[in-house]
Amino acid sequence: MPLASPEMFGQNLGRMASKSYKTIFGGAVLVVFSASFVLAQGSAATAGAPIAFSCGSVAAIGASEFTFVPIVVGADATEPRGINNAGVIVGSYTNAFDSNYGFVLRNGVVTTIELPNSITQIAGINSSLELAGDYLPSNGRDNPKALFSGTDT
């Protein structure tokens, strides 16, 4: 697993039983914790050549131009969800086996984020490299999604 400290994670999983959370969420289990991830698994990002694009071809209001670069991570779908002011991009991807993982794209290198035995999705990152996302334990399809946060070290 690409998580540095299963022990720390285990402790935090213990918080999932927090009664106050359960009360707030009407039975849904929710966990919020901070942990330092050591990102051990990585591969190069596949990014195509920049494509210049003018918005004039659609009903654009306001004059602006962007350069678009595809972000392709893994063999299947890619879903970037957030970008911080340093340009670090986070999101999720699906591999050929339809497994879902979180990713961090930083300085051209993709690091996979996978919470143990879970479908992991990363939703956001801030300037302090703190990540937020959710995960769905794969050992029980009836388990609700849970939230997590952590810090990209």
Binding site: G62, S64, F68, P70, A77, I83, G87, I89
Partner: protein, 149 residues
């Protein structure tokens, strides 16, 4: 941090700040999803009516505001940066576009050649990330859009 949870009655948004959860429900909505927040605490998201039509909102200074995107049947907001620039999607049954709301105006855009484009996040440099659907039966892929100076 913002997010959403699902009850039998529909989605509810939430704000998690200082160890406290606060529910976010757009007035009169059948459901609310909180999708993005900036350092000023401004929150953007999607609310939907009983017909499951989506609309974007901005929650700022304790007040919900609608963000009607011109010409869009379905739309929603996903990201906001510290300048108050907002990104999201605008779609009808045949075409989906990303939008950027900046300086009081909407800019609609598409990844080149894509049938559907969604913008999820924007940073303070105006860089936008999102997802596009290639023509045909391709799986959705990501994009980074950087403003040309």
């Amino acid at each position: 941090m913002v997010g959403s949870y699902y009850l039998e009655s529909g989605y509810q948004g939430f704000l998690y700040q200082g160890g406290i959860f606060t529910t976010l429900s757009f007035p009169g909505a059948a459901g609310t999803l909180a999708e993005g927040i900036n350092n000023q605490g401004q929150i953007v998201g999607v609310w939907y009516d009983s017909n499951l039509t989506d609309y974007p909102f901005l929650y700022s200074d304790g007040q919900f505001q609608q963000l009607p995107v011109p010409g869009c049947e379905n739309s929603g907001a996903f990201g906001i940066n510290n300048h108050g620039d907002i990104v999201g999607f605008c779609s009808d049954p045949e075409l989906g576009l990303g939008f950027l709301y900046q300086n009081g105006a909407f800019l609609l855009f598409s990844f080149p050649g894509a049938t559907n484009t969604l913008a999820f996040g924007i940073n303070d440099s105006g860089q936008i990330v999102g997802q596009y659907y290639p023509p045909g039966v391709g799986e959705p892929q990501g994009f980074l859009a950087t403003p040309v100076p």
